[in-house]
C-alpha cells in the first residue's frame, strides 16, 4: 500500500527513478571504472554497507563484552542464519510482488510436527520432518492458489492462513500430546542434517542451510528462467503473462518456498534445542520483511536480490546480538533495536540514492 511513495517524491512528469545501468541479476563482468559503478548500483549494496557499519560499530563498543569472540560471533551468525532461512524466500516472494504473513506460524507447525512425532509418539524424527514439509507444501499451494485465483491481496489471505495455522497447530498438538510444548529428539542422518553443531557446540547447522539456500537462490535469480520470471512477475504481472511467463505458477512456487523454508527453520531450531513449541517463530514475520527491505528488495516488487536479503538478515542478527552486549540497561534493548533498524533503513536509502545519482 505504499505504492505512491515507493518511487520517492516525484516531480511533475517524473517516471519512477531508475537505477541507470545495472541489471540486478546480471552476471558480474569487469570493465574498469564502470565495475565500481555497477557494484554501487546493485540492490544489495545498502544492506551490505549496513551490516558492515553495524559490525564495526559493535566491534568498537561491544568488543570488550565479547562481540568479537567465538561465542559472540556464533551468537549473531546463528541469529542471522535462522532469520535468513525465512527471510531469503520472503524476499523472493516480495520480488514477485506478493507477501506471506503465515511464515511465522509455519515455523511453529514445523516445530510441532517434529515434536509430536518424536517427543509425543517416540517415532523417528525423519517422519516428523517429512510430515512438516508435506504440510508446508500444502499450505504454500493453498496460499498461492487463493491469492492467484481471487486476486485478493496476499497480506490479507496469509493473515487468515496465519491464524488458522496457529490455531490448527495448537489444536493438533493438544489433541496428540496434551500440550503445546513437547520435547524433540533426533538421531543419525536427521540429527546430522538438522541439529549439527560446531565450534564448541556454538555454531549451529542453520548457517549451512542458510548458505546453501543463498547460493541456490542467488544462482536461481540471476541465472535461471525461473529467476527471470520472478523479476518479471513482480515488475508487471500483466506484461509477464502476455509474453508467456507462467506468473501463477511462479507465485505459487514461491509461496511453497516460503512455507518450506519456514518449516526448515522450525525443524532446525526444534532439533537443535530438543524442544518443540507451537509459538516458535512468530517474531519472524516482521523481521523477515525488515531484512528484505534493508537488503534492497522493493516493497512493490520487481527489484531486489537474495544476497541483499541475506545482508539484511545479517544486519538484524548483528543489531539484536550487539545491543545486548553493549552492557546498557537491558530494558532498553528493544528501543535500541528499533532505533538502529531505523538508522539502517534510512542510511541504506540515502546510500542507494547517492550511488544512483552519482552516475
Amino acid at each position: 500500500m505504499d505504492l505512491p511513495t515507493a518511487t520517492g517524491p516525484g516531480t511533475a512528469t517524473a517516471a519512477p527513478a531508475l537505477p541507470p545501468v545495472a541489471d540486478p541479476a546480471g552476471p558480474a563482468q569487469t570493465s574498469g571504472r564502470s565495475t565500481v559503478r555497477r557494484l554501487l548500483t546493485r540492490p544489495e549494496i545498502g544492506g551490505a554497507v549496513s551490516a558492515l557499519a553495524l559490525f564495526v560499530f559493535f566491534s568498537i563498543f561491544a568488543g570488550d563484552n565479547g562481540f568479537l569472540t567465538q561465542g559472540g560471533t556464533a551468537n549473531w551468525v546463528n541469529a542471522a542464519a535462522e532469520l535468513g532461512i525465512v527471510a531469503v524466500p520472503i524476499g523472493l516472494l516480495m520480488i514477485a510482488g506478493e507477501f506471506d504473513l503465515s511464515v511465522g506460524a509455519m515455523v511453529g507447525v514445523g516445530s510441532m510436527s517434529v515434536g509430536i512425532t518424536t517427543g509425543g509418539y517416540g517415532e523417528p524424527a525423519w517422519l516428523g520432518v517429512i510430515v512438516g514439509f508435506a504440510i508446508a507444501v500444502a499450505v504454500g499451494v493453498a496460499n498461492g492458489f487463493m491469492v492467484v485465483r481471487t486476486g485478493l491481496p496476499s497480506f490479507i489471505v496469509t493473515l487468515a492462513t496465519m491464524m488458522m495455522l496457529l490455531g490448527g497447530a495448537l489444536a493438533v498438538s493438544i489433541w496428540a500430546t496434551g500440550s503445546s510444548n513437547v520435547s524433540a529428539s533426533s538421531s543419525g542422518l536427521t540429527h546430522a542434517l538438522f541439529a549439527s553443531k560446531w565450534m564448541n557446540d556454538q555454531l549451529g547447522v542453520a548457517l549451512v542451510w542458510w548458505v546453501l539456500l543463498l547460493v541456490v537462490s542467488a544462482w536461481m535469480m540471476s541465472r535461471t528462467r525461473f529467476g527471470n520470471w520472478t523479476y518479471a512477475t513482480g515488475g508487471n504481472v500483466v506484461a509477464a503473462r502476455l509474453v508467456g511467463v507462467p506468473t501463477d505458477r511462479v507465485k505459487i512456487s514461491l509461496f511453497v518456498a516460503t512455507s518450506v523454508c519456514a518449516v526448515l527453520t522450525g525443524t532446525v531450531q526444534t532439533l537443535t534445542l530438543g524442544n518443540g513449541n507451537v509459538t516458535l517463530g512468530s517474531a519472524f514475520i516482521f523481521q523477515a520483511v525488515a531484512a528484505a527491505v534493508i537488503g534492497g528488495v522493493l516493497l512493490t516488487g520487481g527489484y531486489g536480490s537474495p544476497m541483499g536479503t541475506a545482508c539484511g538478515a545479517a544486519t538484524y542478527g548483528i543489531i539484536s546480538t550487539g545491543v545486548l552486549l553493549l552492557g546498557w540497561n537491558a530494558d532498553l534493548t528493544q528501543l535500541f533495536i528499533g532505533a538502529l533498524l531505523l538508522v539502517a533503513v534510512l542510511a541504506n536509502h540515502r546510500l542507494r540514492a547517492l550511488a544512483l545519482s552519482g552516475s
Binding site: 517516471a15 519512477p16 531508475l18 537505477p19 541507470p20 545501468v21 545495472a22 541489471d23 540486478p24 541479476a25 546480471g26 552476471p27 563482468q29 544462482w219 541465472r223 535461471t224 528462467r225 529467476g227 527471470n228 520470471w229 523479476y231 518479471a232 515488475g235 508487471n236 500483466v238 506484461a239 509477464a240 503473462r241 502476455l242 509474453v243 508467456g244 511467463v245 522493493l298 520487481g302 527489484y303
Partner: protein, 276 residues
C-alpha cells in the same frame, strides 16, 4: 532473411466473426485474412472494436459466432499461450517491457535460451545478450550496446522496438501490433514504422492497429476501417488518399471541421489543409 511474397494462403483468417459482450456487440460479422509478408492495417476510432479483434486472434477471447482459421484449419485457442504456440505474437502499447529488467532479460523473457541440464540448466546470458543486441541492430536500433542496460533507461521507441524484435525473433509468423505508435514522438514513430517494414520483408504477416491514418498509410499494404464493430471499408495500398481514409474513420469529419476553420478562419496551409 528476405523472403519473396509468393505465399498465397493466409496464415490466419477470421471468418464471419461476431463478438458480443453483455449488451454490446463489439465486433459483428467480420472477416479478414492476414497474408505472409503483408501489413494489414486495421483502422478505427476509439471503441470501434480494434482491440476486440486482437483478443479474438490471440486467444484472449473466443468469438460468439464465426471462426478463427490458422493455416486453413479452424482453431479454438484456449489461452494466449496457445496462440503464441502457433506463431501469433502480440505487442501491446504499454505493457510490453519491464523497466527494471535488463535488455537481454526482457528480450528472452518467456523463451529464455538455456545451457546445461537438469538442476544446472541456466539462461544462456551471453547468447541472450548477443541475440538481443543483434536483433535490435537488425531493426535499426544502434544506441543500445550493452545487454545489461535496464530497459527503463531506453526511449519509448526503443522499447517498442525491443518488443517487436523479440516477437519476430521467437518465430512469430503473425505479428499483432496494437497502436504501437500511440505514445511515441515523430522520430520514434518513424523508427517503429520502419521496423514494421523490415518485419514484413521477412515474410511475417503483420496486423497493424492504429488510429493514426498517416502511420497506417506509411506502413500498410491492405486496409480495413472499422466503425462500430463493422468493417466500413476495405482497400489496398494506393486505392485511397489519406484524406479519404480520415473521412472513413468517423472522427475525421470533426477534425476537419476544426481545420477547415469554421470557428477559426482560414489556416494558411495551402493544399495540405484540404487533405487533412
Amino acid at each position: 532473411m528476405t523472403e519473396t511474397q509468393t505465399a498465397t494462403r493466409p496464415v490466419v483468417e477470421l471468418r464471419g466473426v461476431t463478438k458480443r459482450y453483455a449488451g454490446v456487440t463489439a465486433v459483428s460479422d467480420l472477416s479478414l485474412r492476414l497474408m505472409p509478408g503483408e501489413v494489414f492495417c486495421l483502422l478505427g476510432e476509439n471503441g470501434a472494436g480494434k482491440s476486440t479483434v486482437i483478443k479474438l486472434l490471440t486467444g484472449v477471447e473466443r468469438p460468439t459466432s464465426g471462426s478463427v482459421v490458422v493455416d486453413g484449419e479452424e482453431v479454438s485457442f484456449s489461452s494466449p499461450r496457445a496462440a503464441r504456440d502457433v506463431g501469433i505474437a502480440t505487442v501491446y502499447q504499454e505493457v510490453a517491457t519491464l523497466p527494471l529488467m535488463s535488455v537481454a532479460r526482457n528480450f528472452v523473457l518467456g523463451a529464455e535460451p538455456t545451457v546445461g541440464w537438469g538442476p544446472f540448466k541456466r539462461i544462456d546470458m551471453a547468447t541472450a545478450s548477443r541475440t538481443a543486441l543483434a536483433e535490435l541492430k537488425n531493426l535499426g536500433i544502434r544506441r543500445v550496446d550493452d545487454g545489461r542496460q535496464l530497459v527503463g533507461t531506453m526511449s519509448g521507441g526503443e522499447r517498442q522496438a525491443l518488443a517487436i524484435a523479440r516477437a519476430v525473433h521467437f518465430g512469430a509468423r503473425v505479428l499483432v501490433l496494437d497502436e504501437p505508435t500511440a505514445a511515441l514522438g515523430v522520430r520514434e514513430s518513424a523508427t517503429v514504422l520502419r521496423l514494421v517494414s523490415r518485419v514484413r520483408e521477412r515474410g511475417v504477416a503483420v496486423l497493424f492497429i492504429t488510429h493514426n491514418a498517416y502511420h497506417a498509410h506509411a506502413a500498410g499494404d491492405r486496409f480495413m476501417v472499422l466503425r462500430r464493430g463493422e468493417p466500413s471499408a476495405e482497400f489496398a495500398r494506393g486505392e485511397r488518399s489519406i484524406g479519404e481514409v480520415i473521412e472513413l474513420m468517423a472522427g475525421g469529419a470533426e477534425l476537419q471541421s476544426l481545420l477547415t476553420g469554421v470557428e477559426r478562419g482560414q489556416v494558411g496551409v495551402g493544399d495540405d489543409s484540404s487533405a487533412v
